[in-house]
């Protein structure tokens, strides 16, 4: 009943090509965005700083990887490396260039990550599937090794950590220790919304269709005139751009300071991969839902026993969390192999007829 699009006639081409052609979708998305901006009024610092900002950063990274894997069909395990390139580039740009605007710095560091992504995307022209995954794995190890080894990347400080300096947007501190959690949250949220909107438009246009053609059958795509070189490298560039921006936000808005360990295979690359598999390959909304699941569920599982007054030891709690979380992923993928995006689609179909199914 609530999801009936019957009667919503499109009389113009613009109306037909709108991002969300169904009225209910438009309202729902708008409500979610408004609610997201209202979160700082209700959430305390722990929720904002430790959980929501982390979620926003990883959602952005998941969208980036989904562009590459879900739409263009190129498997990558280098997400952490591309995020690290973004983070270290942003650190170098802000500390070495006086008066650099932080937004410009973040976008430029995304550009640096894109360049590196293209470089490591080159093997994709010759190798496919799991073999490509191994090639991107090389990026993961090489780049982190480089950032740990060469002092120039971390301004030669003795510990090898990079620290976000305080920077302002419109006179409000958004990075550095004194920046409020609210300001950081708003910055990350705005980045996510703008980039998700951009990605959504990208994947339904010519570029996105080229990617999907390459993904579904690259030889056929080549025969109908899609150039694999440009298409694949563009996917690598845009995906790495997203990862780079997310990496910069990770240091500047979330962690505040980090070493290369924060970007390693288990902490970032695999985690983001799980997010898009659970969220749904080839879906922007799915990336965000997958990120929410992977970030929020372990935190919920850790905090749940004390919440209901059950006292168990810290170690047991952590082990339980890992076991339950693992089982949940396996069960979920058996029940719904195509992820949250597909689940949402089914739900919509049901809601269309609810409460009077025939």
């Amino acid at each position: 009943m609530f999801y009936r699009e019957a009667g919503q006639f499109k009389t113009t081409y613009q109306g037909d090509q709108a991002l969300f052609p169904v009225f209910q979708d438009k309202v729902a998305v708008l409500l979610v965005i408004i609610a997201a901006y209202a979160v700082p009024f209700f959430a305390d610092e722990y929720w904002l700083q430790a959980i929501f900002i982390q979620f926003l950063v990883f959602a952005l990274m998941a969208i980036g990887l989904n562009i590459l894997m879900g739409y263009a069909g190129q498997i990558s395990l280098g997400t952490g490396a591309f995020a690290a390139v973004g983070a270290y580039a942003c650190y170098k740009l802000t500390t070495n260039i006086e008066g650099m605007n932080i937004i410009v710095a973040i976008l430029l560091s995304g550009g640096c990550a894109a360049a590196v992504g293209v470089l490591f995307g080159l093997p994709s022209l010759r190798i496919k599937g799991f073999y490509l995954a191994v090639a991107t794995l090389a990026a993961q190890f090489f780049i982190l090794w480089l950032f740990n080894k060469v002092g120039w990347f971390y301004n030669d400080n003795p510990s090898g950590t990079i620290t976000a300096p305080p920077r302002e947007i419109f006179g409000i501190l958004v990075t550095g220790p004194s920046a409020s959690a609210e300001a950081r949250y708003i910055v990350c949220l705005t980045f996510l919304i703008v980039f998700a909107w951009f990605a959504k438009n990208l994947v339904r246009g010519r570029i996105g269709r080229n990617w999907m053609a390459i993904r579904d059958m690259d030889i056929a795509a080549e025969i109908i005139g899609i150039r694999p070189l440009q298409t694949k490298l563009l996917a690598f560039a845009i995906s790495s751009f997203y990862c780079g921006v997310a990496g910069a936000l990770m240091i500047f808005c979330w962690l505040g300071s980090a070493e290369t360990e924060a970007f390693d295979l288990a902490n970032v690359s695999f985690r983001v991969l799980f997010m898009i598999i659970i969220g749904g390959l080839g879906s922007i909304g799915g990336s965000i839902m997958g990120a929410a699941f992977i970030i929020l569920m372990p935190i919920f599982l850790t905090n749940f026993p004390p919440m209901i007054g059950v006292e168990i030891s810290t170690a047991l709690q952590k082990h339980l969390e890992e076991i339950i979380f693992g089982v949940m992923i396996v069960v979920f993928l058996i029940v719904e192999p195509e992820g949250f995006a597909r689940l949402w689609q089914i739900l919509r179909e049901k809601l269309r007829k609810w409460p009077f199914p025939y």
Partner: protein, 439 residues
């Protein structure tokens, strides 16, 4: 009907109990200590004894003395797995607990310490990074909120070089000797490098840095390199699983254990026991005694384990890192006691505890009274010096227990302090901090 009544009664009981509990917590004076621990993951062998030490000492104070001067000690653990991102979550989760917020943080990870240093002055919660963390935080004029007694990585490295010089018969004999620094490839492991380099220039030994990537289970290429170099001494900055693997590998290439010295994070029971007989003779630095024969252990075994020494041993009582947890908890609670003398016996804020840390003066008398006789050296923190450059000693593993294998070595203040001050000044300039005047 019956069911409804029962539900109502239950709800009423819950509400009533809730308000009662709330009133209770508001009345009692409590001092909250957050605990960032790692009882799982690759660093658990090092993390568990430390966490047990903290837990037992806090519990002892409550059970025996009813807290610190009547103020109950409360604490909560949060698992970090030694990961910086989980460290941030735990910090945010625990910093506001207790009636007046967290007293101080002991991150037990140099990486997490680096992350918390800028936050400390904003949230007004001090950091007590005992023997780890950022070395230049020893300059209290710049790092008002960070304390790293009794000695830093740089002080420790200078003491180790002093020890090597005694072994070879004088500083002049160090020239041309080959020393390897086998270190964890992270902020923590790299920390000693600048001092070792400065000293290499001064004394002319040949220094090779060999990094081991996290978590350090795989070290065969590093040890092949060591076999090629044939160093006169190896100094190791390892943590967690890396330590056991390194000591085993050293045994495999038959490297003489009495030339292999770990720093104080690479010298606990869990590091040497897996290597079996091969670890006999292994050396490491420390700043407190090992074993369960000190006064404080007798109290812990009596009050917490009900006199059951076997159960205590199972909980790591007396292991090097357990003792470190106990010593650290003692420093923390003594800082609170010091602050109570000025602000009164009530729940203190982080700001007040900071004052307590800065005026912390642990005399031999205090140590004797608390049961730390012969276990720790006295120390006195000042506004300028948050480190105190306490003496360092070398301990030796004989296959069953640790014993001292050198005299107490004082770090080379004349070399270390200028580098500390220079680095702190650079940090101050980068972050627009005006150093305090400590006069």
């Amino acid at each position: 009907m019956k069911f409804r009544k029962a539900v109502l009664a239950a709800a009423g009981a819950v509400v009533g109990f809730g308000t009662f509990a709330a009133a209770e917590t508001a009345k009692a004076d409590e001092q909250f200590f957050p605990m960032l621990v790692y009882r799982t993951g690759a660093y658990a062998p090092s993390g568990i004894p430390v966490a047990n030490g903290f837990r037992d000492y806090y519990t002892l104070l409550n059970k025996r003395d009813g807290g610190i001067n009547g103020v109950t000690v409360t604490f909560e653990e949060c698992e970090t797995q030694y990961k910086t991102n989980l460290g941030v979550e735990c910090y945010e989760k625990l910093k506001g607990n207790g009636p007046t917020g967290a007293s101080l943080f002991n991150p037990y990870s140099t990486g997490i310490t680096y992350q918390l240093i800028p936050k400390a002055s904003v949230d007004k919660i001090p950091i007590l990074s005992m023997g780890y963390g950022r070395t230049s935080a020893a300059d209290g004029r710049v790092f008002e909120w960070v304390f790293n007694p009794p000695a830093t990585y740089w002080s420790q490295a200078s003491a180790v070089i002093k020890y090597f010089s005694r072994r070879v018969g004088g500083y002049d004999k160090l020239a041309g000797k080959k020393i390897v620094h086998l270190h964890h490839n992270s902020a923590y492991g790299k920390e000693a490098n600048p001092t070792l380099e400065v000293l290499a220039k001064r004394y002319g030994y040949k220094l090779t840095m060999i990094p081991v990537d996290h978590p350090g289970q795989e070290q065969s290429s590093q040890w092949r390199q060591i076999r090629r170099i044939k160093p006169d001494f190896i100094f190791m900055s390892g943590w967690g699983v890396m330590n056991q693997v390194a000591i085993k590998e050293a045994g495999n290439i038959r490297y003489p254990m009495d030339q292999f010295v770990g720093n104080w994070w690479s010298g606990s029971d869990a590091d040497v026991i897996p290597a079996g007989d091969g670890a006999k003779g292994y050396l490491s630095t420390t700043f407190h005694g090992a074993g369960a024969d000190f006064g404080v252990h007798a109290e812990i075994i009596k009050h917490i384990y009900g006199g059951d020494a076997a159960a205590a041993r199972e909980n790591k009582v007396g292991e090097v890192l357990y003792n470190r947890g106990v010593v650290n908890a003692m420093f923390a609670t003594e800082a609170v006691r010091t602050a109570q003398a000025k602000f009164g016996n009530k729940s203190l804020t982080g700001e007040q505890v900071r004052w307590g840390l800065e005026n912390l003066n642990i005399t031999q008398e205090t140590l004797d009274k608390l049961g730390f006789k012969d276990m720790v050296s006295p120390l006195k923190i000042t506004c300028e010096d948050h480190e105190t450059m306490g003496p360092v000693i070398i301990q030796k593993w004989d296959g069953a227990k640790w014993s001292y294998a050198s005299e107490w070595l004082t770090p080379m203040r004349d070399i270390v302090r200028p580098i500390v001050e220079a680095d702190a000044a650079a940090y101050a300039k980068e972050n627009n901090i005006t150093p305090r005047d400590c006069k």
